[in-house]
Symmetry: C2
């Protein structure tokens, strides 16, 4: 755990892929391959995380303390021994929230200069 644990702001701006991984883990723990599929689903196929990118991102995120590997395995019948499950940490959630605030500011900036058709 090389994570500094202190200030989530220090990791911003978050690499897009890192943010998408945190989103995928927000509601339930998943293994790598399932994360890839979840991101594709949530973005309607607009973003496909490459396998290489995923596993290196996960490695980095483990070191930063954004995610942790799960010990507990699913029911013996539905398990696939190759799978490695990950969960989002409280720190990871804090960083995701900080990034979400930053993204919201970006959208606000975009609105202010007419890059978005939406209100204001």
């Amino acid at each position: 755990m090389t994570h500094d644990g202190s200030d989530p702001e220090k990791l911003l701006p978050l690499p897009p892929v890192t943010f998408h991984i945190l989103v995928a883990l927000s509601d339930q723990d998943r293994h790598g391959y399932a994360i890839i599929q979840d991101v594709t689903a949530r973005t309607d196929g607009a973003l496909t995380i490459q396998a290489g990118t995923l596993y290196r991102s996960i490695q980095r995120m483990l070191e930063q303390g954004l995610v942790a590997e799960k010990r507990t395995r699913p029911a013996i019948g539905e398990d696939d021994e190759r799978r490695r499950y990950y969960r989002i940490t409280p720190f990871g959630r804090a960083v995701a929230q900080a990034e979400a605030r930053r993204l919201t500011q970006m959208v606000k900036l975009a609105r202010a200069c007419g890059f978005v058709p939406g209100k204001a």
Copy 2:
């Protein structure tokens, strides 16, 4: 002009600095140093673009056709000969709009999984 001119989506996701430069040029043409100051101002000091990053980003953006260099100079009295002025191109504006839409989707995703306190 190495810009492909066709599909703005191909350049997404836009590097954060590139997007901020486009925002800075959205309302008026500026020279490099003025862009740096504008970004600092608009983000309340949260983001300070480094000089090296700025000039290399501008170089890249010229090649992509996102921005163009201006020929016309300010009034002879208020001019600084060192300055090089840039303006956003129609293609650059299209790319910025596409990126703004992507950012909006990201915020929507963040809302859907509880990363944002805001509505729904």
